[in-house]
Point group: C2
Chain length 344, copies 2
DNA sequence: CTGAAAGCGCTTACAG
DNA sequence: CTGAAAGCGCTTACAG
């Protein structure tokens, strides 16, 4: 039978065993660092394997070890959202770095909605395609949580808390982020603080809503919250609505950077000067916040580290090690040109 | 031996064979749509498999069929760049959609540089981890091209032409994009058109440089080109340099949206009004271009379709079908508020 | 048209 | 400390 593709040969453990004059089992033991092999034998085998450029056949290893050596990330985000959320790319980088350092590969699937996500998760499980999964964009009553529990599919939630069941989770900076923003605005004298939020379907929106309400009440301030689908047009519409109200806000908090920039544009159209007449804050910091004029005050956090932490936790879970406790990601408010004191 | 994880059982073809009263071979034939099975037998097997919720074990199939069912994409981009290039997320979406529709999974690896990319490619090949790869961000004399040729690793280049060897490629909109932008600016009376370009290491930069030079010469216009690393700060620096020149440009073309926005900020700092005193164009269109003030004239193209087309071509290559010829991606200039006629 | 068997390249108890 | 063997769950010639 002709080989479909030529090119260099790929040695197998049988080749290594033959060249080293040992059995395949010994080669496997040496290559996997298992005990039960004399040091000289181990060294000889390793030398032969290195010289031959041996690498394990992933499929063979996965089949016999019942481990795929891969983790999955199914994303129910329309491509449009994905493309303009630096958050996701950074998260991906952080996860990727951690996994590839351990030769674990990442299965990425971008799907349309939560239902498609559930289908992807089940297929991965059924095909033994991944050893575990990362769940992002946690929803209120997220169906994936009972699903992975029922399938006994190891999982870690990037986000939370709320509806996380028995699945380990890593909350973002929702609580401290909102707190820091409100503190900043209140210190500047703002008492009417509105917010252009994300979708109510997401668990993080609920956390932010609750914390904002609490923080405003404590400060004797007030404000309205308008949900959106995170798009710039929804952000612009919400801004128009808020600025057209009888009692106009003196500050608006946006749940992402792109909506904040869109809000800036709307204010400019309406002849409302930022920050003199209106303070604008983006919850998520990004280069966008630095680059627009006026530059945007925002909450900075290390999203790559966040992703790395979650990936590490998943690996801990897979190896049977204890998973670190859920702690909020540290965050720091970066004051820029879009916030100022309320005019007297 | 205790099973490490319980949860629902995953049936194998042995289970299906038993329940259907046939051999494992027949099950395999039925499930793969191979001829050589009576229609009633096939139907019965398929019904049993569907009822049992059977899904192929990926590793077993990969091992016996010598196909991994996965394609690879190794990205040598620092995370920082990645995060702010909507281009990449869109490309990923397009590729993903095409692959997952055919149950092919995508291996994504984000690495630091071209060398690490070569290491990743070789490992994927050695581990039989992927059936083929997509190469993006083609460089001048890209080392990956001879590498995949030598390894006989099926590959498709997203970008080009130039140094593509025998590997099929899909050029972007470099030629027509630059042409359309120059036409637009020349029609507005501009004769001094500078450009804040990307890195000279990339093949697309060279294409754009050459086409720009040609187009300017034809129009009797002139301009300088400054290379950058695509970051906003580099874009800002280049803008400062160009605007400080004795013969100031009346228009600047930026190779990406984030640098264009940074350039806008610099012009504003210098008290140069866009578009009255300076026209600004972004080569890549994005929501960012729509959202900033003034909104940015840019070249729009369907990046998702582009990614899908490349993914399709790779699948064609893997299946031994003819690969469609290299054709430039269609593009269309979107005039917005950042370009205007040269003041008299 | 169908079945029995070998083989893909590993891992892992089990003997010696 | 080392080897021979079974097995992971598929695919694929090869007999009947």
């Amino acid at each position: 039978m002709p080989r479909r593709q030529l090119g260099p040969r790929r040695p197998t453990i049988a080749d290594i065993a033959e060249r080293a004059g040992v059995s395949k089992g010994s080669v496997s033991y040496a290559l996997n660092g298992n005990p039960g092999l004399s040091e000289p034998t181990r060294q000889r085998i390793l030398a032969v394997a290195a010289e031959a450029g041996w690498q394990p056949n992933r499929a063979a290893r996965a089949l016999s070890a019942s481990r795929s050596g891969a983790c999955g990330l199914a994303l129910a985000r329309p491509a449009r959202t994905l493309a303009y959320e630096p958050f996701f790319s950074k998260l991906l980088s952080g996860i990727e770095a951690e996994l590839s350092a351990r030769q674990i590969s990442l299965m990425l699937q971008i799907v349309e909605d939560v239902e498609a996500e559930a289908v992807a998760l089940r297929r991965w499980w059924a095909e033994r395609h991944v050893d575990g999964v990362l769940l992002v964009d946690l929803r209120v009553d997220d169906p994936r949580v009972p699903q992975v529990e029922q399938l006994h599919l190891p999982a870690v939630i990037v986000g939370g808390p709320g509806a996380t069941g028995t699945v380990p989770y890593f909350p973002g900076n929702d609580t401290s982020g909102i707190r820091q923003i409100v503190d900043h605005l209140v210190a500047l004298g703002h008492t009417r603080i509105d917010r252009v939020a994300g979708s109510n379907a997401f668990a993080c929106t609920k956390v932010r809503n609750d914390v904002l309400e609490e923080a405003l009440a404590e400060a004797g301030a007030s404000g309205r919250v308008l949900p959106t689908d995170y798009t710039s047009s929804a952000g612009a519409d919400a801004t128009r609505k808020l600025l057209a109200a009888k009692r106009r806000p003196t500050a608006i908090i946006y749940d992402n950077d792109i909506m904040a920039v869109a809000g800036l544009g709307v204010a400019q159209e309406l002849g409302i000067v930022v920050p003199n007449e209106l303070s604008v804050v983006s919850f998520d910091d990004s280069i966008l916040c630095e680059v627009v004029r006026p530059s945007l005050t925002a909450c900075a956090r290390d999203v790559e580290a966040y992703g790395a932490r979650a990936a590490c936790a998943l690996l801990d879970l897979l190896e049977g090690r204890p998973v670190p406790p859920a702690e909020e990601e540290p965050t720091a408010l970066v004051p820029r040109a879009s916030t100022a004191a309320v005019p007297a």
